[in-house]
Amino acid sequence: MLNEFIREIKLSMGIFESNSDQTYGVLAEFSDPGALLDAARETRKAGYRHFDTHSPFPVHGMDKAMGLGQSKIGFIVFGGAIFGLALATWMQWWMGAVDYPLNISGKPFFSTEPSTPVMFEVTILFSALTAVAAMLAFNGLPRPYNPLFYSENFRRATDDSFFLHVGASDDLFDEEDTKDFLKSLGGYNIEEIKDLGEANATSD
């Protein structure tokens, strides 16, 4: 139960578990974003769930094609914003009116008006920090080791090529069948990715 849950979480981060013979998955290259989008749609239709696409830029419509919902980052950031606002309000009230009240030209020790700029800035600060932290957490980054880095060809995923990777952890995964399936979708340079767990996966 717990393991299943962890697997689902890792899947949402794009981290797949390799199977017993250290196979991480099968990688196929596609010629353009259009082909990749079609392939992703077909892969999902065929019943695969543990797969991901890799492209040098976000491909419009891919979330829908892969069956991924809206990113949840927004809700988390809202929490961060509320925390920042509360912290700034409490800080200014406690420091100015409780811990060390100081009479400045007879002004109130605490009032909303002069506290607004700092409240605003701290709210923004915590929202932004939360957004980036949540993005990294949801994406499972930083991730220095990734079996995909073993593939020489995969380096072009950040340049001009488009990849679809089916994880070995998928129920439908079968080395030969999956390879044939990806080939039938128009994939080429199809290769099997091994999770060897060595350091410096990208080094020559």
Binding site: S31, D32, P33, D38, A134, N146
Partner: protein, 484 residues
């Protein structure tokens, strides 16, 4: 690349906005064009420029050390003008930073795709300008070693910062602005650092880039959260950037000094900040695009759009100058009226008219299409605008202070050589950082530029292409386009 959408007969198939990238570049060519500047051997021209900028940094450090050792008295600040060049320079540098955030955040929210080829450099400019800005108030406090008293950190006096002071709001506004700008810039950099990592040959280069690119693989499961975060950061940076210069203007507007105590200050300062910032972006990009051969990415169209923004914001600033005069007259407050007359015809009239000429009149040339597409002309105007905007802050700060309510306390302010050299040194630091950026970081957001190309739209391949649609098994000769 025969069937680029902008080449004649193909145009009718494409229903999106006009292309941002000229010259029919493929994805791979764009990667090469930008990345190789961060990978090639250090050019000697860069080393020469870097050497000059480093001298500026040395000058800045020397002047700051001299100031710390001797005290703030080495500057021209004194009664009645207690805020001299340091505050002028602070507001000047913070203002310059604003264009970067405007380009990266506000234009992103408005889906202005032309921002993609200039946002990286503009954001870098923001960060470096804010660093330069922070130097001045930091050392202006006099005892720089206790500057942490401005932050809510427990100290030996058991006292806390005074949250009712606009100067403290400024501490929060500018430091939050710096932090958020840096985050925004870094998040934007991650995919491009991964591109550089995957191209790296040298093991150490691979490791350093691998560290900073966080293991990015361009996975769609990542892009999903990444794009959302980027959108949220843009949404946060937009009110932030408007707030920062508003808070800076509170430093003046919340006081009771004639000429400062006006409600027009926040919007007027923000418009001025965007105005000067865009001028600085034009100055920097006109040079960089030429030196680095990026004319196809940072096109004349981009520069023209920035010049239009300079024209609009410059006119807004000019309008604010005139409104101030009107309100001073209309208010019937003697001191307010005197403060503005004194600006225009008093001892600092020379500064006032430099400001008026550079900020109100100079950008008006951009009404002419030919002039706003002329690279040399816009370069000159962009420098004129920044001179004008520096003088705007000079006029606001100095003229209001040097003659206040009591004629017996009137005075005339002049900077010292230390003031001048510190300011010159801050330019050294700015260019020092900017040159490092040009040398080691992709100066154009590679993934974002690719993302706004028509070839990045999956539906581009529905009508286009030559049979290389989905289901074509063999690799295309140019894998980027599917069009050979």
């Amino acid at each position: 690349m025969a069937n680029q959408p902008q080449s004649g007969e193909q145009t009718e198939y494409y229903e999106g906005p006009p292309t941002m990238v000229k010259g029919g570049l493929s994805f791979h060519e764009i990667t090469n064009l930008i990345s190789h500047h961060a990978e090639k051997k250090t050019p000697s021209a860069w080393l020469a420029a870097f050497g000059v900028a480093s001298l500026g940094v040395v000058l800045l450090l020397t002047m700051l050390a001299y100031q710390v050792w001797n005290g703030v008295g080495v500057w021209g600040n004194n009664q009645p003008v207690a805020w001299g060049w340091p505050i002028v320079n602070f507001v000047f540098w913070v203002g310059i930073g604003h264009a970067g955030t405007l380009i990266s955040a506000i234009l992103f929210l408005f889906r202005q795709e032309w921002r993609t080829s200039i946002n990286r450099a503009a954001e870098a400019m923001t960060i470096f300008a804010v660093i330069c800005a922070l130097i001045f108030p930091t050392f202006h406090v006099g005892r720089v070693w206790v500057v942490y008293w401005m932050l809510p950190i427990p100290n030996q006096m058991e006292m806390w910062p005074q949250f009712k002071s606009p100067l403290l709001w400024d501490v929060f506004a500018v430091s939050v602005y710096f932090t958020v700008s840096l985050l925004f810039w870094y998040v934007g950099l991650i995919p491009d650092l991964a591109t550089l990592r995957d191209r790296a040959k040298n093991i150490w280069r691979k490791r350093v880039l691998g560290f900073f690119s966080l293991g990015w693989t361009g996975a769609n499961r990542h892009w999903r959260n990444y794009e959302k975060t980027y959108l949220i950061l843009a949404g946060l940076a937009t009110p932030l950037v408007l707030s920062v210069h508003s808070v800076v203007s509170f430093d003046f507007a919340v006081s009771i000094i004639p000429g400062w105590h006006t409600t027009i200050f926040p919007p007027y300062f923000v418009a001025g900040a965007i105005f000067s910032g865009f001028a600085m972006v034009v100055t920097l990009l006109v040079i960089s695009r030429k030196v680095y051969g990026l004319e196809n990415l940072i096109t004349l169209d981009h520069l023209e759009k920035m010049n239009i923004i300079i024209l609009v914001t410059g006119t807004m600033v000019g309008f604010a100058y005139i409104t101030e005069f009107f309100v001073a007259w209309y208010s019937m407050v003697e001191y307010e009226q005197y403060a503005f007359l004194n600006r225009a015809i008093g001892p600092y009239a020379w500064a006032y008219w430099i400001m008026m000429t550079c900020n109100l009149i100079a950008p008006q040339f951009f009404w002419v299409k030919k002039l706003r597409r002329n690279v040399t002309f816009m370069f000159i105007i962009s420098i004129v605008v920044n001179i004008g905007m520096w003088f705007e802050r000079f006029v606001i700060t100095i003229t209001s202070l040097h003659r206040d309510f009591l004629p017996s306390s009137w005075g005339y302010y002049s900077p010292t050589i230390v003031d001048v050299l510190t300011f010159v040194g801050s330019f050294g630091l700015f260019f020092f950082l900017f040159l490092l950026f040009l040398r080691f970081v992709p100066m154009v957001a590679v993934s974002e530029v690719k993302g706004v190309m028509p070839e990045a739209d999956p539906h581009y391949y529905d009508d286009h292409g030559d049979g290389h649609g989905a289901g074509t098994p063999e690799p295309a000769t140019t894998p980027s386009g599917g069009s050979s």
